[in-house]
Every structure is written in C-alpha cells, then in structure tokens.
C-alpha cells in the first residue's frame, strides 16, 4: 500500500546553485502526482530529494523536512532504508547489462540477502506482470540479458525491478521521455494501474501525459513551486498567470 508524502520548506543546492527553494506540498497516498515545468526548474531535483538520491552528489545539499508516512526521512532514517521503501525509475532505461532479465528484477532483493528461491520466482513473475512485460519475456527470463531488450521493454524492466522490492512510493523521473509513442502509452497505462497499490510521483515534460495519468499536478518554475492543485484545475483554470502561460505554450 502506498503512503502519503509531506514536504515542508525543502531547499536543495548543487554547489552554490539554489535549485529548490522552500518547497511545501502534500502528496496523497495511492494517487499519481505529476510535476511539470520547463527544463532546469527543479522537478528532478525534487524527486531525487524524496529518496535521498540528491545527496549522492558530493556537492549537493538539502535542508527541510520530508515525511514519508510518519518517518522524517532526513532525521529518523538512513538513506539506504529510505531507498528500500521508495522505488525510482530513471529517465533513461538503466537495466544491468551483465544480468539476465530475471536477475535484473531480483537484483534489489538479492542485494538485501533475500534468497528464498520459490518466493523469488513468484516475485519476479508478479513484478513483470505488473509492469506489463511478462508476456514478452517469459520465455527468455534467464537466457537474455537486460540490455538485449528494446528501449521500451528496458524501461518496463526497470519498473519491474523497482516494483520487486515492494516499495511504498514510486518515483518516475521522465520515464517515457526516451521512448516512442507506443512504449509511452504502455507506460502510461501502467502508471494508471499501479497507483492502486503505490503512491506515484511522476516528472514529465509532456503535459498531455500529466493530464492523462495524474490526479494532482504541481508546476515548478526556477526552483520554486508555483502552483499545486488537482490536475483538472491546473489544466482548465490555473490560478497563477505563470502556470497558465506555461500550459498554453507561451514559454518553456
């Protein structure tokens, strides 16, 4: 089951570059929340703060509070614990090229020492079914490497890999931007189904995509969150002029 995320006064820096400024928002459980905005506005940095990936860069710094469920992730937990609860799918598919499809999906569990074979088999199948890849790969699970799949399949493999550790939150950083329209629509269908079980935060450049998959949408601009509301309101009746300019294509 997904959990809600509560963000208060989140600030983030890359070196001296203040990439996120005073972000406050509440992300509801079991919904998809889309983050839109022009390139470099801080959307990606924001999701990377939710699983503490931002700080893996030595020059990066974060202040503020992020609560996932009732855990303050910057106070009460180590990054490793957070990342086990918060799955992430990256912009470019990044399967492990030296592992089979099966091992790719099982990687997160094997990493944590989970070795019950039968349970692993079940989890791998379930994750691949959930990411709508099972039918395409079930015959070559152990024969083919993760890198031998097409780009869209690779991205769904990465989603399966993230789902296999049964996360509470799934972060997706422009998951479809490197994919063709058919693969994109498969990923979107997937997001639609997955939000029954997970809290999903999706960064996207594609406003139609945000409108199709998300209940709530946040608009970021220059490191600040300009507006956060239901997707319907953002796209039909935004209260901020800048949001309106962006979604009508006047800039960005």
């Amino acid at each position: 089951m997904g959990v809600g995320i509560e963000v208060q006064n989140l600030n983030a820096w890359y070196g001296s570059n203040h990439t996120l400024q005073d972000i406050c928002l509440n992300i509801s459980a079991n919904q998809a929340t889309a983050l839109i905005g022009p390139s470099g506005c801080g959307k990606s940095t924001f999701v990377r703060c939710i699983n503490r990936m931002h700080e893996t860069n030595p020059i990066a710094r974060v202040t503020g509070t992020v609560r996932i469920g009732d855990v303050d992730i910057y106070k009460d937990a180590k990054p490793v614990e957070i990342r086990r609860r918060v799955g992430m799918v990256f912009q470019r598919p990044n399967p492990f090229p030296t592992m089979s499809i099966y091992d790719n999906v099982a990687a997160g569990l094997k990493l944590n020492g989970y070795s019950n074979r039968r349970a692993l088999d079940e989890i791998v199948e379930k994750s691949l079914r959930n990411s709508a890849l099972w039918d395409e790969v079930k015959d070559d699970l152990r024969k083919k490497s993760g890198a031998s799949l097409s780009g869209g399949q690779q991205q769904r493999l990465c989603i399966a890999r993230a789902l296999a550790v049964d996360p509470e939150v799934l972060l997706m950083d422009e998951p479809a931007s490197a994919l063709d329209p058919v693969s994109t629509s498969k990923i979107e269908d997937l997001i639609f189904q997955l939000k029954a079980q997970y809290t999903i935060v999706i960064v996207t450049h594609n406003m139609q995509q945000a409108a199709r998959v998300a209940e709530q949408t946040g608009f970021f601009l220059n490191g600040r969150m300009v507006e956060f509301d239901t997707t319907h309101k953002i796209f039909t009746n935004p209260s901020d002029k800048r949001t309106e300019d962006y979604i009508t294509g006047r800039f960005g």
Partner: protein, 360 residues
C-alpha cells in the same frame, strides 16, 4: 499563425531567380570572387595526397617489419636446438650419465630443457598476480569511488609513477632492502606458520627466490593493473551506480553490483596485461630469483625464469647449442607474451570502447 507569412516569402524567393534572375548569375560568372579564384588555383592536390598515403603505409609497415624480423631471427637461430630436442625441449628432464643426478640444464653436457624456466616464469608471475590484483583493484575502487576529488589526481599520478621507475632500481631496492627483510623476518615466519604445506621450507637461507621475485613483480605490475582497472571502472555509466543505489544498496553493494560487475571483463583484461608484463620482466627478476635451473615445491627456493636465464647466460654461452637453446626460450617467451597481451587488449577494448552497450 505567425508561421504563414515566411512560407509565402520563401516561395517568392524561390520563384524569383527563374523569372527575372538571369542578370544576377551572369554577373557572378563574369567576375569570380577572390576566394573562388584562390581555390581554383589550388588544383586537385592528388600528388600530395598520394605521397602522404605512401609515407604512412611505409611507417606502419616498419612496425610489422620489425616484428617479423624478430620472429624470423629467433626461429632461424633456434633451429639447432629445435632439431636436437624437438617439442621435448619444453618438458624434458634427463639424468646425468656420470653423477646419475637428474637435471634440466647442462651447458657442459649439451643437454637443455626449458622446463625449469617455464616453471619459474609461471610461478613468479602468478605469485605476483596473487599479490598485485587485490591491491590494484582496491586502489582503483578507492580512487574512483571513495577518494575525495582533490586527492584523486595526485594519488592516481603517484600510482602511475611506479611504472616509470626503471626495473634495475626495483632490483637494487629488492637486493638491499627487501631481501634482508625477507631473510630475517618474513621467511622464518612463513616457514613456522605455513611450513606444513610444503610450500615454504627452510632449505634456502639467502632470501632470494620465488617469493622475492613475486613481490617485486607485484609492485611492478601494480600501476598498469590499477590504472587500467580505474579506466574501465570510470567507463561504467553513472546511471548504473544510481540504479543500484535507488534499490537501497550500501556503498559497497553499489560498487560490487553497479561497478565491478559491469567492469569485470575489463578488469580481467587489465590483470592479463599485468601478467604479460610479469612474464617478460627481466632485470629485477634476474637480480632476486636466485638463478638456478631447478624445480622445487618450496616458494622460498631459488629458481630462474625464461627472461632471467637469457639475461644471465647469453653473453657467456658455451657453444652454439647453448646459444640456440637460449634463443628458443626467447622465441617461446616472445610468442606467449604476444598472445597474452593481445588477449588482454581485446578484453579491455571490449569494455572501454569497443562493443556498443545498451545501458547508459
């Protein structure tokens, strides 16, 4: 809406030369510009190009020529020993008719076998790998994944500086520092703790031998293994590290699964390249290996390597057969190192630049 007017303008522009443009092109052809005149005066440069081509082909052929010449000379001058001993040269052991002692290498009795030298080369090289690989990979992991950025450059430079030290200097250092230490402290310790294995016995009190040459070789091949390992590890895309981290991996797990696993073929290549260097290393090994053509189980005993026996005996060879046998050892060493190096290069190349990789 704003796109429409330029489209119309483009159309008229394209139509214009056809209708009334005969004046403009005519004026151009009457008076070619300075640039055009200069370029026309340049000719087609065919001769220069041809000459350059021939020159470059000659340069590259020189390299192949040198290699071919070496092989030809080695083959030619090892004929005598080849005809006398054949393939048995590489694994025979014979008994001295007078003393009834078995031996491998008897220049006076004209009996030659490469076996103890092949044994010595293999043992000292693998000992070197055993010591150098963990150190080198550890250094590479530290430098690429853990070291603060400001220290990375200087430390990498220092590691690579080890490769610039002439091997005779390593040999001298070993003779004056390493060997006494081994003799006084390390060897007695090995004998008392691991003597039961038979790999360390106390028949040789000099401190010279396989252990000493293995340590020296390890230091000498450390820089090449570690710098190549660093290179292949740096070539692993950052997204692979992030993928592992995002699954909740610790730093060590990230390095193991995200970096070492992806770089492993290249690391094997780096190790084999180090092996190639160890196989052929001459000076330092000759100074510390003890130089006796024998085969013992003990790693503390004296031995000789293929390179060291050539260095030691070539100038003072007694008779043509002796010389020919040494050259045949040289030929064998040459072929083995070429094959090992080629294999290693292919592996490193496959990781850093060759085979296209799907993941980014």
């Amino acid at each position: 809406m704003s796109a429409a007017p330029p489209e119309i303008r483009v159309n008229t522009e394209m139509a214009a030369p056809q209708q009334a443009g005969s004046g403009d092109p005519a004026a151009k052809s009457a008076e070619p510009s300075e640039v055009r005149k200069y370029l026309l005066s340049r000719g087609n440069s065919a001769f220069g190009d041809r000459a350059f081509h021939v020159l470059m082909v000659l340069c590259s052929l020189t390299i192949f020529g040198i290699v071919a010449l070496i092989v030809w000379q080695l083959v030619l001058r090892s004929q005598m020993s080849w005809h006398a001993f054949g393939l048995k040269f590489f694994f025979q052991r014979f008994t001295d008719p007078d003393t009834h002692r078995s031996s491998f290498w008897d220049p006076i009795g004209q009996q030659f076998s490469a076996l103890p030298f092949i044994f010595g080369t293999l043992v000292s090289s693998f000992l070197a790998l055993l010591l150098a690989v963990p150190l080198a990979v550890g250094t590479a992991v530290f430098l690429t994944e853990m070291c603060p950025k400001i220290l990375r450059g200087p430390l990498a430079f220092l590691t690579e500086l080890l490769a610039a030290i002439p091997s005779v200097i390593y040999g001298l250092w070993a003779v004056f520092i390493l060997i006494p230490q081994l003799r006084e402290h390390v060897n007695p310790f090995l004998i008392s703790k691991f003597g039961w294995s038979g790999l360390f016995d106390d028949t040789n009190p000099t401190g010279l031998g396989f252990v000493a040459s293995g340590i020296i070789l390890a230091i000498m091949i450390l820089p090449i293994i570690s710098s190549l390992t660093r290179e292949v590890m740096t070539a692993v895309p950052h997204s692979q590290r992030e993928a592992v981290l995002a699954l909740g991996a610790t730093r060590w797990e990230m390095i193991r699964m995200g970096v070492l696993r992806n770089a492993r073929i290249g690391i094997v290549g780096a190790v084999i390249l180090g092996l190639g260097r160890a196989l052929g290393e001459t000076m330092a090994v000759t100074m510390v290996i003890g130089n006796s053509a024998e085969i013992h189980k003990s790693l503390l005993s004296n031995g000789a390597s293929m390179a060291s026996v050539i260095a030691n005996e070539f100038a003072e060879a007694v008779g043509d057969m002796h010389l020919s046998a040494l050259i045949e050892i040289g030929l064998a060493l040459f072929l083995v190192t070429i094959v090992v190096n080629a294999l290693a290069r292919v592996l490193v190349w496959a990781v850093t630049g060759g085979a296209p990789r799907q993941a980014h």
